[in-house]
Symmetry: D2
Subunit: 359 residues, 4 copies
């Protein structure tokens, strides 16, 4: 059980919402790489929120490089970056020490750590921990892009409003890249106003909504992965389920496979005119037997509605050992799906780059 | 990347469909345990098929204990069990050396291993490898049950026919246990004939169907797991996606979370009259922030329709590097969902018992 | 290959001699522990040098706790501590970019990292990295002592001057503890002046000396460890050889076993009057078959003479690809054995505490 | 804690002296390699004993390949080989259930496994487990030799009789290879009779002797390894200390470094006439800062005298909880140093090949 993930590109994260800082150590980063800090900053900003869809905690979110970088290049030794927790208001969290917020990690963390966990702002479970993850993912993305591998995603669903899905066979690289430029990435832009409406209604109702992010990876080579126990699906899902609020992961048709006959779900092969192996369809989302088959890798993750809502809820007081009620005050993100998009991409990049270093 | 899974209860599997044998090494098994071989045999039989829903390869499937067992108890050293591959007909597999079966691992394995993979009967990717997994899972189940932890499951969906879902709050232990006794485990038994019909139609049409397995775990203690990167969801999904044909995994409401408002998805706490912490609902399926909260752990996995269908399909000949066609002859399982049930339970047991040994 | 060590008490170190800071992440530290920062500071000071036996780089060496500590107790989440590199003089290191210091890691690091390694002050290979190791070891020591386990050591040899060895059967806890209080820990204090003389002569000659540290662990329970591949000897030596300048590790009689007959090397058992299992002798240093037998664990590590000496040496210029000469200017430790003592203890504590968490 | 070692070339061993079989799973073996079973057999025979220096248990020692090998080549999936335990006489071991053999693993294993360990013939701690290790090492050796890397060794010491040491700078490949052909590998053959005498005297006296094995590796590239925590020395020593009876490991001058001044221990570099980087001496045994420097890798391991001697010894009866005496009957190896030679080489090959797969 570990705060470290990766076989060769090892990522360790640490920190709590209100600790001195949060950060990440990346071990196994090849030496001699000039990091593109503009791109890193771009990814961190995508995660930051601060628009009408989110209620951001205003923070600098600027990485401070502690080690592993020398002469404007990676030095081959572990790269450590930290992010100071500047905006940790000294507000009174003492109520949350004993009153467990429903649908949050408070209670299981309380049990696991015998009441010693840092309960301020979610502690080590805070969504803020996705900041160092996004940093590490941005590094991995740069390294993948240098190998011609691109990751992109869109919001497939917000509450009951659905975007169309990726055309798993014909996703274009430019399409993926342009999605990153959008504040609210959609394939069918006409759905934007409807989704916006749903989100703003939730905000006004002191409620929240969830949704689905669909992700695609282009250019990933065939032949990477293992059947047991390190399939691409196994390791990707392992990391995706580390992202707070992710409650489901599917590849290709995913749960839709249940509705298909074998004859409807088949991915037949052919050589295209350049001699490349292609499939007519891509139901399996680019992975067979745990190994990449050279087609676009496609998967989706569902993000549950933000657990923090400004409504009075029933809960327990673990100090007095009695039933009680709690209203989590403050302003909350009415939806975190949008902010989750770069995080989903980041952990995918970490995982896939680690796979490539194993080859 | 590894054929071994587990931190303390480490399971290593090996073998191909047509190698001398397949097997498993379990390292970390506590010493002094008398294994219940009847229960192990029961689990292996559940996986075996041989009824009207499956076209089984008739095999003895009897484990041969090679090491780690002494004086009718585990000895503390690695337990190795092998299963001989008695029924490996010397039929001609040479066509499959070059013609890649669509939707199977053949092509990615060919690329990964430079054409040296054992292509007979799926080789190392064969569903037969779930036999040693089921063995290891049966051992883990016994150890979990000794701690009062029970795993059970039912078939939630076959093609478009749906069973009802578990009542995530009130699942009963007896209900879980009795599901194991059924050839085709369902909560709403009235759906059996409809599902049977769908399967037999697929068989007659030389086609196949997929489905969904829903699994529940009772008695698992609160406070187990980690937020990063070894959440219960991360590790369970890691192993579940190792099971051939699994293409999606979800916890609690899973993808259904997208449709819910925060106020509809909340799991409020209360102390019951015995002072136990309960939730009024269990949308999150017993896991919050990656850690168990003491409620039943609930999750589902989708199994794609059997890739082998007796229809002529388009594919490539990697020897001649040209497009071709292939009909995979022989009799195939029209559905593997039913046989997947004990395998899903087995990997879950392996994962959860490993978690407990970490505590 | 990893900057992380440990199965349950996982220690990750990062930093270079002249990076912004160096530090450590400890993952797996139990929650609710009040760290004794005075003891930690005491251990860090032992390592620091600054006396007549060393030429210390004057540095604050004060840990800054970044995360994992809350309300004056460990919070259960990863503890990160960093040490700023305040004293990194902006001196000209450019000569060392191309001229490889003999007996240092410069050349292999240059090859490994394609010339991108941070060559200033030894970079990631600097003895300064033993500072976060000593910090982590001090934490582990505190946790071991709470279980009645004590680690102590003395300088067994400086160049050709030898101290006596531990009486492996009768080492006393008080003896171990009092050794820590000594600037130059010896069993036979009469050897101090002779050792001092050897060291000062080396300093005056612009030369250096090495030596041997002997370490003992009291109170470690029997039955911990494994034969393959995680014997106590395997894991202790793994970490001991991570300490810069360690070139040999031996347990019990160690290399002296070669000179003994089986009948001279036997560790016969008896029950003492309190019913405890004891051995008449302890040739094996408390470990048999990789597992602790309840007797004191005894081992030694040899520290090579400081590689930096103020003498002109032959070497290569990897820029011009030609033979050249180099004199490493500056003042150097004439011996690092003394400063290695707390580091040897620290890694031993990390390793042994990790073992206990596995039980 | 694990019966598996390796990051990419993962070796798992299992079995007890008297279990059905013992064996090994090798995971990560590249596909498409035709194994040289003659060479494997040669290595297994070197380990076997059966001459006047050993009292071998006569066993076939023939590997049975269970999986991972297809069409006379490795298939890319885990290779499992087992060795049946044919010669397990049904003699009465019941005395050893309660009487702990001094200097053996019996007592710590009894404690660790609560009396459930397989005590017959040393169980999982038996030297017989070095058979699958030697098999895996022979595979690794073949793969190393295909890259021009050779491992060889000689007996540096038997009791007080010493062979000369390797010339660490000028060891020749042919010299290393020819050492393998010798029944008793020595650099100074004139020492053979004296060593033989010591061994035969020990046998006649119902006693045993130990010794030192020195090993050298030629052709290993510079730049492999890490400072923390996976130095070449760390990982080699980790595996070497897994070999039963190894109690000390040293690199280059090893414990001799204590006697040297820095000016005597320096390894100065030069470019030879072909532009290769060389050192004038090789005190450090080819490793600096944990990383290979391209010079021969040299190390020694001490093997303690065989613990089994035919003399009456004092010990405990853990059943009656009283002091007692025990004479371990049967014929024993008067020395195991000779049989350890191929095992030392085998684990070194496993470790070094694993390092290369990480690059």
């Amino acid at each position: 059980m570990s705060a470290t993930f990766g076989d060769n590109f090892k990522v360790t994260i640490f920190g709590q919402s209100h600790s001195e800082a949060i950060g990440v150590v990346i071990d196994g980063l090849p030496a001699g790489i000039k990091l593109d800090f503009d791109k890193i900053d771009f990814e961190l900003k995508r995660r930051q929120g601060g628009d009408k869809f989110s209620t951001p905690r205003k923070e600098a979110d600027t990485p401070k490089i502690i080690s592993g970088y020398f002469d404007d290049k990676t030095a081959g030794s572990p790269l450590c970056a930290i992010f100071e927790n500047g905006n940790t208001r000294s507000k009174d969290y003492s109520e949350l020490k004993v009153k467990m917020r429903p649908s949050h990690a408070d209670y299981p963390a309380y049990i696991k750590h015998n009441g010693n966990n840092d309960y301020r702002g979610g502690g080590n479970f805070s969504g803020r921990l996705t900041l160092p993850l996004t940093f590490a993912g941005a590094v991995a993305k740069q390294l993948l892009e240098e190998k011609g591998i691109y990751i992109g995603s869109h919001i497939k669903k917000i509450n009951k409003v659905e975007d169309i899905s990726f055309d798993k066979v014909n996703i274009g690289k430019d399409e993926l890249i342009s999605l990153k430029e959008e504040v609210f990435p959609l394939l069918d832009k006409s759905k934007l106003s409807e989704m916006e409406e749903v989100i703003l209604k939730a905000r006004n109702d002191h409620d929240s909504v969830g949704g689905i992010v669909e992700c695609a990876v282009l250019g990933f080579p065939a032949g990477v992965g293992s059947p047991f126990f390190d399939s691409i699906e196994s390791r990707l899902s392992h990391l995706l389920f580390s992202v707070p609020a992710v409650k489901g992961v599917e590849f290709g048709e995913g749960f839709g496979f249940a509705d298909l006959l074998g004859s409807e779900a088949k991915d037949e092969y052919y050589y295209d005119k350049d001699g490349n192996v292609k499939t007519y369809e891509n139901h399996n989302g680019g992975v067979l037997g745990g190994i990449s088959n050279g087609q676009p890798i496609c998967f989706s993750a569902v993000i549950k509605p933000t657990a923090s809502i400004s409504k009075l809820q029933r809960t327990i007081d673990v100090g007095k050992k009695e039933n009680t009620k709690l209203e989590v005050v403050g302003r909350h993100d009415p939806v975190i799906v949008k902010r989750a998009v770069p995080v989903i991409e980041a952990v995918s990049a970490i995982c896939l780059y680690d796979f490539l270093l194993n080859e």
